[in-house]
């Protein structure tokens, strides 16, 4: 695992080669340059992410400010001027909201929920996986049993259940504000087991090695051993599962929002937009549905392809 993007460069053979050149010639960059699909996927992902992050600056209209909404703009087809005289590149929905702007803000919500949920699942899964793999015994048995049971159920079902339970616990007047965090919690809790399983396996291998034994003999705190010595060596599979998990989390969020149990209607994500757009499918206003759907597919697909590439690039057997 000497070729992670952020790890120190490999030993420099001659003083002449600069750090940048070493990086450019490293295995991981080489495999990136050799795969046109990955290059395209990373560009698409980069564009979509920056579009979402800078939505307030880039979006032509603010779709959630009632003052700027005009019902006269409603149902404007793409690439045309509305009856109110304004131009909309991707058309408008029933209330005259600009579809392009709602997509930008919607991807923002989708990405935020997906990223936070993946982060939550990662922290929880890696933590429990390290404990299970390093401590072993009853801890290992209990943690992995729970993970096994959870992995045999579809993640979407578990997320739905957690979401429903959390909704029942939170008092009704706080539900609006808490909905996004409940969603993050539900998706995160549904996805931790993958991380735990991979990290446990890698930790059990690392634990046998001399450097861990040395640290233990020196009397280093087990907590420090796990964080400073073992964790950096199991980070490869975590990165791969994290990337593919991000794509899964985005799709799970969209599915939950599509089912009507996700984000509140005041903060529509891509799934909510698709749910709204489906109502207009039969009346011929296809653009309200199509453009959010394409954005969702591009986002999930590009992140997924990046994860696939990362898995192959970090796998020494395939090199």
């Amino acid at each position: 695992m000497t070729d992670l993007p952020h790890s120190p460069e490999q030993p420099v053979p001659a003083a002449k080669t600069s750090r940048w050149k070493t990086f450019w010639r490293s295995d991981i960059v080489w495999s990136y340059r050799r795969s046109p699909v990955t290059v395209v996927a990373s560009i698409v992902a980069f564009l979509l992410v920056s579009m979402a992050v800078f939505a307030p600056l880039l979006a032509p209209y603010n779709p959630f400010n009632p003052a700027t909404l005009n019902l006269m703009d409603g149902f404007t087809p793409p690439n045309s001027n509305s009856m109110g005289g304004r131009y909309f590149a991707l058309g408008t929905d029933s209330q005259g909201r600009d579809v392009l702007s709602t997509i930008m803000y919607g991807s923002r919500v989708s990405l935020f929920v997906g990223a936070m949920a993946t982060l939550f699942a990662m922290v929880m899964g890696v933590g429990l996986g390290l404990v299970a793999g390093y401590v072993g015994g009853i801890w290992d048995a209990v943690i992995m049993r729970v993970a096994d049971v959870q992995l045999s159920f579809p993640a979407i079902l578990i997320a739905l259940l957690i979401f429903g339970v959390a909704r029942g616990i939170i008092p009704p007047n706080q539900q609006e504000g808490a909905a996004i965090w409940v969603l993050i919690l539900a998706i995160g809790l549904a996805n931790w087991a993958q991380f735990a399983r991979a990290v446990r396996g890698a930790t059990m291998v690392e634990r046998q090695k001399d450097y861990v034994a040395a640290a233990r003999i020196l009397g280093v705190n087990p907590f420090i051993i796990l964080l400073r010595h073992v964790l950096p060596n199991v980070v490869g599979p975590v990165l791969v599962i994290g990337t593919i998990g991000l794509a899964l989390a985005i799709i799970e969020e969209a599915t939950l929002s599509y089912l009507g149990v996700g984000v509140p209607p005041t903060q529509p994500s891509l799934g909510t937009l698709i749910r709204i757009g489906q109502q207009f499918l039969f009346s011929g206003e296809w653009w309200i549905l199509l453009f959010p759907a394409i954005t969702l597919v591009l986002l999930a697909l590009s992140v997924n392809l990046l994860g696939d590439w990362l898995r192959d690039a970090l796998n020494p057997k395939l090199r």
């Binding site: 339970v165 599915t255 599509y258 089912l259 009507g260 149990v261 489906q278 499918l281 597919v297």
Partner: protein, 326 residues
């Protein structure tokens, strides 16, 4: 043999008890069961009286015991949202979900095996590349988008098939079937295809991989040397040996299919258990949620139990292992 089955049964019972315990916690402590049963202007005395009557003052383990006893009799209380017994709600909607799940599994099995064999036999054909690429795209598309896409093509543009509901149904005993009417069958096509796609891809890739492995073995080479026809070799010898894993996977996936039906049923407004569950989650209808949790867990446990026992019967190595005290 008997000892093995007994041990597996015991494990299943423990799993079900754990699930029932989680369901009980949800049922008892999420929301206030009394607030949903009593009217708005109930007095404290009314509350006390109801608490006493429903046994909510009793110790925790007694309440759990009552919950399990009721669950064994199929009693999960009354739905907050629909004001009907939960078991009745689920049993009314169960046939719809089962018909959908079985139809989609058949589609997945037939087309999955066919395409898997085809792509394994014609590895370099252009059509194989197309099928493999399509299957990759199909897997990465969210289920609900596939459903919406099918609705758009076949219901909105071509107007061939209905886009929602179950069509006309016929009551046979307590089973309400849509399989015997034309409109019922037409309504089944789009949801069944949507639900089957994920499983279809899985089966296709599995059959392809297994076939490619089997076709390299010595006994296939020997069959060729004997001059058997291609068809006899491919289907009589090779495909037969790929069937065990395929059937296992299809069986184990049936539980996932019932859970995945949640999404498909919502897209097509199919009146099954899955859409009942989604609406219950949205309305925090706790008794239905708890019952659905127990119900799905029961299906998973039963399927796993059957597959394990079948393995035990089919594979003699497992039997010997059990004898020598596994």
């Amino acid at each position: 043999m008997l000892a093995f089955i007994a041990r597996r049964l015991l494990q299943s019972v423990i799993v079900m008890l754990v699930v029932a315990f989680i369901a009980f916690l949800v049922f008892r402590y999420v929301g206030d069961p009394l607030a949903n049963l009593l009217s708005q202007d109930a007095t404290m005395a009314d509350y006390e009286e109801a608490r006493e009557r429903l046994g909510l003052n009793q110790p925790f383990y007694i309440q759990f015991f009552h919950f399990v006893v009721n669950a064994l009799q199929g009693q999960f209380g009354v739905s907050y949202r629909l004001q009907q017994p939960v078991s009745q709600l689920i049993f009314e909607r169960l046939p719809a979900t089962i018909e959908l799940a079985v139809a989609s599994s058949i589609i997945a099995l037939v087309f999955g095996v066919f395409l898997g064999v085809y792509t394994a036999l014609k590895q370099r054909a252009f059509s194989t590349g197309v099928i493999m690429t399509l299957s990759l795209v199909g897997v990465s598309l969210p289920t609900f988008l596939i459903g919406i896409g099918l609705i758009y093509i076949f219901a909105v543009e071509l107007k061939w098939l209905p886009s929602f509901g179950r069509g006309e149904v016929i009551q046979i005993g307590w089973w309400r079937t849509g399989l015997l009417t034309q409109s019922g069958l037409r309504s089944l096509i789009l949801p069944a295809i949507t639900l089957s796609l994920f499983q279809l891809t899985l089966i296709m890739r599995l059959v392809r991989a297994e076939m490619m492995e089997v076709l390299r073995t010595d006994y296939i080479r020997f069959a060729r040397a004997r001059g058997l026809s291609q068809r006899a070799i491919n289907f009589g010898h090779a495909l037969k040996n790929t069937m065990v894993p395929v059937i296992t996977i299809t069986g184990l996936q049936l539980g996932s299919v019932i859970a995945f039906a949640i999404i498909t049923e919502t897209v097509f407004q199919w009146p099954g258990v899955g859409s009942l569950f989604v609406n219950s989650v949205a309305a925090v209808d706790v008794p239905v949620m708890a019952a659905y949790l127990v119900f799905v867990a029961l299906i998973f446990v039963i399927i796993n139990l059957i597959v394990d026992i079948l393995y035990f019967i089919v594979d003699p190595r497992l039997r010997d292992g059990a004898k020598s005290g596994r």
